[in-house]
Amino acid sequence: MDVQNLSISVGNNPIVRNVSFSIEAGKTLGIVGESGCGKSLTSLAIMGLLEGTQVRLTSGRVIFEGTDILKVSVSERRALLGSRMAMIFQEPMTSLNPVYRIGDQIVEMILQHEPVGRTAAMQRAADLLRRVRIPDPESRLKSFPHQLSGGMRQRVMIAIALASNPVLLIADEPTTALDVTVQAQILDLLEELKTESGMGVILISHDLGVIAQTCHSVAVMYRGQIVEACSTVELFANPLHPYTGGLIVSIPDAYSNVDELNAIPGRVPTIDERISGCAFHPRCHCAKDNCSTQAPQTIQRADHLYQCHYPLEASS
């Protein structure tokens, strides 16, 4: 999948600007950024799940298996959803319909995309629950969502997403709402399932530590723009954008003992604040005069993309 110059607005307020990235089968792309920077909007836009809100896609192309899926008809688009690309959401507690049994919610996905009978689909649903490591799948099929913990619900969501063997899985902060031990289990599970099925995964997180463990490449987002993108190894070895540098030193007990609260001073500006020049300059310790007036262009150095007038010096 190739995402090119995607821009999203709420009303007249641009929230995501010119976001581009690409992802290959069998690889994991991490998108990292602070809360509210537009990660969820970007993934919902790719899935075509923004209709019915005031959120508008203003430009961009999403090339998936050779076609721009933003241009195809609504029904062709629907046929892709679930079968070729699937998504798991940030909110495991509320993402399952409270009035239906787990089994029925998985079966709904299977029946939507495959010509199988209900009994066969239910059998498949039990297999899927086993694949996502839910103990005693047969009886779990009959549970209602409120009878499961958050981690279990997220596993069910993963089972639903994998039901029709998608080639692309978007995981929007799949572990943010869960506690740490469960987080690790879910991430391991995703990694394993990815290796098994060879699908591409977009893993969204605000935690660079999570990204470091699982992703081949990373895109760092700040205020609706990708400010730096490269392979994970390169990012940790040679962070060029000061924001990335700040994120890396703020990973707990990692590469330095800098007081993590001071790593990136200030806060994410709200979306209605207009910032001239580079969006990060008010919080940047390397900012010079022209940073507040002139927006930096995307610069490419080998396979490393960044948007900064004064990149951190390569250390190796």
């Binding site: 799940l49 629907r78 046929a79 679930g82 909110e91 009035v99 939507q112 969501m157």
Partner: protein
């Protein structure tokens, strides 16, 4: 489910006892000597004494209550002062009319309220939504008697399609076709309540549409109609079910007005006439019947609720 039902029925017992006490005391709330008031200004002291004894008003209150309650449990609601027949048979006389009126009204409310509300929600923001919402607003704010009179004017007097008043029993000549006498009354009675349901269905569907699990449903690639029906509507119904309990309370008072406007021989009219005649035993009896019905309706609402929402556990 069965355990829940039994528990829920048992829970109504204390309420019923409290209600029966209130209804019993009702006759004692009449200022002065009830017997004298019931008999009017021209009564002689002897007549008053006889009635006092006949009504048992010379005995202590708790004895009177227990006696009344014992009779009640045997199906004896007392004797109508005006008709001098058992209250139960006075009520039974109006029951057919009121029963069919209620049934037809409920049908109208469901077949009009739920689909129109659902359509308005799925067509949110379009002219369809605006027209139905406007019409619902209008129907909800029009007084019952006014709507009834206008329907009579248009469909009975003007077009001559439907009868304007009365209701011959379906066991008399005409049979089931006699139900057409109840078409206008039931429509009158249904209008404001159907409007309420329309607005409620619409509002709760719009609410549910924003839920995360609806987004999940759409991410499965389901057809929008299936999403609207299986996911949005199904969850919106939970809020709507609760409203039916309140609708019943509104229906009771509006039914009295409607039966009067259309001169229907129903329980509502019996109540009005009994009040004018100061036939207190009948009024007591009718109130009791309404209270019991109200509890039955709420019991059904609760059962529907636990059936619609698995989170309402059957503890």
């Amino acid at each position: 489910m069965l355990a829940f039902t039994i528990k829920r029925i048992l829970a109504t017992v204390p309420t019923l006892i409290a209600a029966s006490m209130l209804i019993f005391l009702f006759i004692h709330l009449i200022p002065g000597d009830p017997a004298a008031i019931l008999l009017g200004d021209t009564a002689t002291p002897e007549e008053i004494a006889v009635l006092t004894k006949q009504m048992g008003l010379d005995q202590p209150v708790y004895v009177q209550y227990l006696k009344w309650l014992t009779n009640l449990l045997q199906g004896d609601l007392g004797t109508s002062i005006f008709f001098q027949v058992p209250v139960l048979s006075v009520i039974a006389d109006g029951a057919e009319t009121s029963g069919f009126l209620a049934l037809m009204t409920m049908i109208w409310i469901i077949v009009l309220g739920i689909p129109i509300g659902a359509i308005a929600a799925t067509k949110h923001g379009t002219w369809i939504d605006q027209i139905t919402s406007g019409a619902a607003m209008f129907a909800a704010s029009v007084p019952t008697f006014w709507l009834g009179l206008y329907l009579i004017l248009i469909f009975a007097v003007g077009l001559g399609w439907l009868p304007s008043s009365g209701y011959p029993s379906i066991f008399e000549e005409g049979g089931l076709a006699n139900l057409r006498y109840l078409l206008l009354p039931s429509l009158t009675l249904a209008a404001p309540n159907a409007a309420l349901i329309i607005r409620l269905v619409r509002a709760s569907m719009l609410d549910v549409q924003r839920e995360d699990y609806v987004r999940t449903a759409r991410s499965k690639g389901l057809h929008p109609v299936r999403v609207a029906y299986k996911h949005v509507f199904r969850n919106a119904l939970i809020a709507v079910a609760a409203a039916f309990g309140f609708t019943f309370a509104a229906l009771v008072s509006e039914a009295v007005v409607t039966e009067t406007v259309f001169s229907l021989p129903g329980i509502g009219r019996t109540v009005v006439q009994s009040i004018l005649r100061r036939d207190y035993p009948v009024i007591q009896g009718v109130i009791l019947v309404i209270v019991v019905l109200y509890m039955v309706v709420n019991l059904l609402v609760d059962l529907a609720y636990s059936w619609l929402d698995p989170r309402v556990s059957l503890k």
